[in-house]
C-alpha cells in the first residue's frame, strides 16, 4: 500500500468527523474500534517496513504550495516507526480504559483528532506540515485538559497552550530563515527536510537556528527551566489527558531534536552538548528531588516523567549510536511506562477521588492485582534490569559515558533517587495496615482496566528481555543519521565528537 502513511494520518480524522453522527451511548465502542483499526494499520506498517533499510520509506510527496516550497511530504524511518506504533497503541489503550463519564462522545472525537495530529507530527518530512500538525495538536489537548480537568483546569490548559505556542512561533521563524537560506543558495523554495539536510551552513548560522529550534522543542520536552507548565497540565488533566501527554506529546520535543536539530546543525549541536547536558542533569536530579517532596501521587509521576525526559535529552546529545538509539528506545519505554502509571493513578482516583498518598496505605491487601501491576510499572520506571526501562537508560548512560564520565555518574543518580521516591510512594500507599475506613472496601481492577493494562505489562517485560526487534531498525537509522552528520560537520571538533563506529550490540 503506497499511501499507508496518509491513511494512518487521516483515518482517525475522518473517523472523528463521522463520529459527530454516532449516538452518544455508542461513541465509546466506536472510538475503541477506530483506534483498534488504526493500531492494526500501524502494525501493518511495521510488518511491511524494511528493517534493513535505514532511509525513509513509504515516502509520499505532493506539492501543495509550490511557489512557497510547501509539500505534502511524508515518510517513515526506524526512528519514527516505533513512536508511531506507540502513539496508536497508547491511544487505543487510553480509549479502552477511558473512565470519563460526561460528554464521552466529545472526548472520543477529540481523541481521534488528537491522534491525527500526533501521527502527523511523526510522519511529516516537510517543516511546514510538521509545524501544522505540531500546532494543531495543542487544540484537542487544550480541550481535554480544560473540559474534563480538575479545579484549576482552565488555568492549566491555557498555560499549556500559550507556553508551547510561544515557543513554536520562535521555531517557525527559524524554519522560515532556513527556507530563506535554502532559497538564496539554490534559488528554489523548499521546506522539505531532505532538501534541508543537504544544506551545509556556517557555524554562526547554525548556532542561531539551533537556538530557535531549541526553544520550540525544549518547551515541549519540557527542559528545565521551561518545565513549569507540565506539573499543572498533569495535575489538572483527566487521566486520559495525562496518559497521552506523557506518552506522546512530550516525545514530540525529543523527536524534534533527533529529526531536526541534530542532522541540520551538527556543529552547533556539538557546541551545545555541554550546556544541554548540564540542563539535562539539573532536570534529572532536581525534578527527581521535587518528585520526592510531593504528596500527590500524580505529581510524583509527573515530575518523574520530567526527570526521565532528562535522560532522553542526555542520550540524544551523546552524539553516538548508543546514546541516540538508547534515547529513542527510552522515548518508547517512557511512553509506555509513564502512560501506564498515569492510568494506574487514574484507577485509584476513580475509586477514591483523591490522589494524596496519605489517604491510602495498605492497598496491596485490598487490591492485589492492582498492586502487582503498579509494582511492575514502578520497577520499569526506576529502570530495573529485565524491564523496558532498563534498556534505554543503560544505553543512554553508556553512550554519554564516552562524552563525560562525571556527568554520566551524576545522571546515573537518577536511578537511585528514582527508586527512592518511587519506593516511598509504593510503601506509603500500598504497604502497612489499612488505616482508612473507606479503603477497606476498594474494588480491585475490573475487566476493562485489567485488559487495558495487561498488554502494557506484557510489552514492558517482552522488550525488557528481548529488545532486539525494535533496537535493530532504530540502530540502523540512527547510524545512518550519524554517518550523515559526520560527513556534513564542518568543524573538526564536531567530527571527533560524532562517533559512528560502535554499535549497540554489547548492550544486549
Amino acid at each position: 500500500m503506497d499511501y499507508i502513511l496518509s491513511i494512518l494520518v487521516f483515518f482517525p480524522a475522518i473517523a472523528g468527523l463521522l463520529g459527530f453522527v454516532i449516538d452518544k451511548d455508542s461513541a465509546r465502542v466506536y472510538g475503541i474500534t477506530v483506534a483498534a483499526i488504526e493500531f492494526f494499520l500501524s502494525l501493518w506498517l511495521w510488518f511491511s517496513f524494511d528493517g534493513t533499510n535505514a532511509g525513509m520509506q513509504f515516502v509520499e510527496l505532493i506539492p501543495v504550495i509550490p511557489d512557497f516550497g510547501v509539500n505534502y511530504y511524508l515518510g517513515v524511518d526506524g526512528i519514527s516507526l516505533f513512536i508511531i506504533l506507540m502513539t496508536t497503541m497508547m491511544t487505543l489503550i487510553g480509549i479502552m480504559s477511558l473512565s470519563v463519564k460526561e460528554n464521552v462522545k466529545n472526548m472520543i472525537i477529540t481523541l481521534l483528532f488528537l491522534e491525527m495530529t500526533m501521527v502527523g507530527v511523526f510522519v511529516s518530512l516537510d517543516a511546514i506540515i510538521f509545524y501544522l500538525f505540531w500546532e494543531l495538536s495543542l487544540v484537542p489537548m487544550l480541550y481535554i485538559i480544560g473540559a474534563w480537568g480538575g479545579s484549576l483546569r482552565v488555568y492549566a490548559a491555557v498555560k499549556f497552550f500559550l507556553y508551547t505556542f510561544a515557543g513554536s512561533l520562535i521555531m517557525l521563524v527559524g524554519m522560515l530563515f532556513m527556507a530563506y537560506t535554502y532559497q538564496s543558495l539554490t534559488g528554489v523554495w523548499s521546506f522539505a527536510l531532505t532538501d534541508w539536510y543537504a544544506l551545509v551552513l556556517p557555524v554562526s548560522y547554525q548556532m542561531w537556528l539551533f537556538a530557535a529550534f531549541f526553544i520550540g522543542f525544549a518547551i515541549k520536552v519540557p527542559m528545565f527551566p521551561f518545565h513549569t507548565w507540565l506539573p499543572y497540565a498533569h495535575g489538572q488533566a483527566p487521566t486520559i489527558g495525562s496518559v497521552i501527554l506523557a506518552a506522546v506529546l512530550l516525545k514530540m520535543g525529543t523527536y524534534g531534536f533527533v529529526r531536526f536539530s541534530l542532522p541540520l546543525f551538527p556543529d552547533a549541536a556539538v557546541i551545545w552538548i555541554t550546556p544541554i547536558a548540564v540542563l539535562s542533569i539539573i532536570m534529572i536530579i532536581y525534578t527527581a528531588m521535587v518528585a520526592y517532596a510531593q504528596k500527590d501521587m500524580k505529581q510524583v509521576i509527573a515530575y518523574s516523567s520530567v526527570s526521565h525526559m532528562g535522560i532522553v535529552m542526555l542520550g540524544i546529545f551523546a552524539m553516538n549510536a548508543e546514546g541516540i538509539g538508547g534515547s529513542v528506545f527510552q522515548m518508547l519505554s517512557h511512553g509506555i511506562v509513564s502512560g501506564a502509571l498515569f492510568m494506574l493513578v487514574g484507577v485509584i482516583y476513580d475509586r477514591r477521588h483523591t490522589k494524596m498518598m496519605d489517604e491510602f496505605g495498605g492497598i496491596a491487601a485490598v487490591m492485589p492485582k492492582y498492586a502487582v501491576i503498579f509494582g511492575i510499572m514502578l520497577m520499569a520506571s526506576v529502570g530495573l534490569p529485565l524491564t523496558i526501562g532498563f534498556v534505554g537508560e543503560f544505553l543512554v548512560l553508556i553512550g554519554f559515558y564516552q562524552v563525560s564520565p562525571i556527568m554520566t555518574v551524576l545522571a546515573g543518580t537518577s536511578i537511585i533517587i528514582g527508586s527512592v521516591y518511587m519506593l516511598t510512594l509504593f510503601k506509603k500507599s500500598f504497604f502497612g495496615p489499612v488505616t482508612k475506613e473507606e479503603n477497606k472496601n476498594l474494588k480491585d481492577l475490573d475487566a476493562k482496566e485489567t485488559w487495558s493494562l495487561i498488554p502494557l505489562v506484557a510489552i514492558v517485560v517482552w522488550l525488557g528481555v528481548y529488545p532486539k526487534p525494535i533496537l535493530d531498525p532504530i540502530d540502523n537509522s540512527v547510524k545512518a543519521m550519524l554517518n550523515f552528520m559526520d560527513e556534513k560537520a564542518i568543524t573538526q571538533e564536531a567530527k571527533d565528537m560524532i562517533h559512528v563506529a560502535k554499535s549497540t550490540k554489547e548492550a544486549k
Binding site: L142, G146, A157, I170, L172, L176, Y180
Partner: protein, 496 residues
C-alpha cells in the same frame, strides 16, 4: 485667446473608469427604484447590490494591466486590479449579512445600499489612481458614505461612533490635504510618478528633505487614522463598538486594503528613493501598533472591542510588511487581507447572529464574554465554528490567517529583518491569549443564564455566509497557491 482644448475619446481610455461607473450607476438605479415604488423588501436591494457588484467584479477582471486613462489620472496597474478585486469581493460577501432574520433600522432604507455602492466606487477610485487629488476625492467619497452607514444603525452609540469617526476622519482628511499640498509645493506636481522623478534628482538637498519629511509626516498621520495605527487608533474601538457587527467586519478589511494601496504608492515611493527614515518610522509605528493593540486587547471585556483591537494589531502586522518594500512584502499585504477577510467575515457574522435588540448581559456591551459562556452546550456547531475562526485569527495552522502570517514573516526574513519576524512571532503568541479566552469561555465554562435565544438573529442566508467563511478558512491550504501566484504576478507586473 486660448486654443480650444481638443481631446479625442480614444485617448481618454474610458474603459478604465468602467468599474466605478458601474457601481455609481447601480447606486442610482437603487435610488430610482425606491422613487418608483416604495416599501420594497430589503432582500431585493441586497440582491441587486450583489448583482451590481458582480458586474463590477467582472469588468475589473477584464481590465488590461498597466494602463492609464482619463487624462492619465487613472492608473490601472497590478496593485489597483488586485485591490479593486479585494474591495469588491469583500463587499459581495459582507452585504448579504443584511439578510438577518430580525429587522434592523438601516436596512429598511434603500439609501443604505446606494451609499454602500457609492462607497465601493470611492474605494475603487482611491486605489486606481496615483494622482493625489483623485485619491483624496475617492477617500472622501468612501469615508463620508461610511460615516452615514454607521449612523444609520439606529442607536445612541452608533451616532456617537459616527460622529467620532467623522471628526477623526475630517481631521485625517485635513492632514492628507495639507500633506498633498506640501508635496505639490515642493515638486510642482500631484502625480506621484512625476513627484518621484523630481525628487530623484534632488535627494541630496538637506533643506528640501526636511520639507519632504514634513509632508510625509502629514500623510502618515492621515493614513495612520484611516488604518488605525498607533497612536491614531483611539477612535477604532468605540466606532467598532457602536457600529453593527456586519459593518464592523467590513470596516476592518475593505477600507484598510484601500488605505494600504495609497500607503504603498506614497511610502513605497519614498523608500524606493532611498529615504531610509521613512522605513524606520513605518517600522516603529508598525511594531508599536501590533504590540500595544495586542496588550490592550488582552483586557477587553467585550468580544467586539477585543476584535477591534485585534484588527488594529493585524493592521500593524501588515504595515510592517509595507516597510520592507519588496515584491514579497507587498504581495503579503494583499494575501494577508484576502485570507484575513474570510475569517473576519465569519467571526463578525457569528457576532451578528447572536445580536439581540436589547442588551441582555451587560448594560454597556452587546457581546461580553459571558454571553458566550458554555456556547458549546447551547449551540455546538456554532461554538465549533466560532472556535475555528478564533484559532485562525490566532494563527494556528492550517487555517487561513496562518498562511498570511507565515508569508508576511517569510517576507520579513527574506528582506533581512529577522528581528521583525521574531517580534511578529511573539506578538502572535500574545494574541493567542485573547482569542483563546473566547474559546475558553465557549468550550470550558458553563452558561451564565438560560440563553436559549443566543442565535436570535440567524437566517438561512447568514448560515450560507458562515458556511462559506468556514470552508474558506479551513480549506485555505488548497487555494493559497493560486492566490499567491496571482497576486505575486500582478504586483511584480506593476513594478512594486
Amino acid at each position: 485667446m486660448l486654443e480650444p482644448i481638443k481631446v479625442s475619446l480614444e485617448s481618454l481610455n474610458l474603459i478604465t473608469l468602467a468599474p466605478m461607473l458601474i457601481a455609481i450607476a447601480g447606486g442610482l438605479i437603487i435610488l430610482s427604484i425606491d422613487l418608483l415604488k416604495e416599501g420594497l423588501h430589503k432582500s431585493l436591494y441586497v440582491m441587486l447590490t450583489v448583482l451590481i457588484l458582480v458586474v463590477d467584479l467582472l469588468s475589473t477582471v477584464g481590465l488590461n494591466i498597466n494602463e492609464r486613462g482619463f487624462f492619465d489620472v487613472m492608473l490601472i496597474d497590478g496593485i489597483s486590479i488586485v485591490s479593486q478585486l479585494l474591495v469588491i469581493v469583500g463587499s459581495i460577501v459582507f452585504i448579504p449579512l443584511a439578510l438577518s432574520s430580525k429587522r434592523f433600522h438601516e436596512y429598511s432604507y434603500p439609501e443604505f445600499f446606494a451609499l454602500f455602492l457609492f462607497m465601493v466606487a470611492g474605494f475603487q477610485f482611491m486605489v486606481a489612481s496615483d494622482n493625489l487629488i483623485l485619491i483624496f476625492v475617492g477617500l472622501e467619497t468612501a469615508s463620508l458614505s461610511l460615516y452615514t452607514l454607521i449612523a444609520l444603525h439606529n442607536r445612541s452609540n452608533s451616532y456617537e461612533a459616527a460622529v467620532k469617526y467623522f471628526t477623526m476622519g475630517a481631521l485625517a482628511a485635513g492632514f492628507f490635504a495639507m500633506g498633498s499640498a506640501m508635496i505639490y509645493a515642493l515638486t510642482g506636481s500631484v502625480e506621484l510618478y512625476k513627484v518621484a522623478e523630481v525628487l530623484a534628482t534632488r535627494t541630496g538637498e538637506a533643506d528640501l528633505m526636511i520639507a519632504i519629511f514634513g509632508g510625509f509626516v502629514l500623510i502618515l498621520v492621515a493614513l495612520g487614522f484611516k488604518l488605525s495605527l498607533y497612536p491614531f487608533h483611539t477612535w477604532a474601538p468605540d466606532v467598532y463598538e457602536g457600529a453593527s457587527a456586519a459593518l464592523v467586519g467590513y470596516m476592518s478589511v475593505v477600507p484598510k486594503v484601500a488605505a494600504f494601496v495609497v500607503a504603498i504608492r506614497i511610502f513605497g515611493m519614498y523608500i524606493d528613493l532611498g529615504v531610509e527614515w521613512v522605513r524606520i518610522m513605518i517600522l516603529v509605528i508598525a511594531v508599536l501598533t501590533m504590540t500595544l493593540a495586542n496588550i490592550m486587547a488582552l483586557v477587553q471585556e467585550d468580544v467586539k472591542r477585543m476584535l477591534a483591537y485585534s484588527s488594529i494589531s493585524h493592521a500593524g502586522f501588515v504595515m510592517a510588511a509595507l516597510a520592507l518594500d519588496t515584491t514579497e512584502g507587498n504581495t503579503s499585504i494583499f494575501l494577508y487581507y484576502a485570507l484575513f477577510m474570510f475569517t473576519n467575515l465569519g467571526a463578525f457574522a457569528m457576532l451578528w447572529i447572536s445580536r439581540h435588540k436589547m442588551r441582555r448581559f451587560n448594560n454597556r456591551y452587546d457581546h461580553p464574554y459571558e454571553k458566550f459562556a458554555g456556547f458549546i452546550k447551547i449551540m455546538p456547531i456554532g461554538a465549533v465554528i466560532m472556535g475555528l475562526f478564533m484559532l485562525s485569527l490566532a494563527g494556528v495552522p492550517p487555517f487561513s490567517v496562518f498562511w498570511g502570517k507565515i508569508y508576511v514573516m517569510q517576507a520579513a526574513v527574506n528582506a533581512g529583518y529577522i528581528w521583525l519576524a521574531v517580534v511578529m512571532g511573539l506578538n502572535s503568541a500574545i494574541a493567542a491569549y485573547y482569542y483563546l479566552k473566547l474559546v475558553v469561555y465557549m468550550f470550558l465554562k458553563d452558561p451564565v443564564k438560560d440563553v436559549d435565544t443566543i442565535y436570535y438573529n440567524i437566517s438561512r442566508p447568514l448560515m450560507v455566509i458562515i458556511g462559506f467563511a468556514t470552508v474558506a478558512t479551513v480549506g485555505a491550504i488548497f487555494y493559497v497557491q493560486p492566490l499567491v501566484s496571482y497576486i505575486y504576478y500582478m504586483i511584480s507586473a506593476s513594478g512594486y
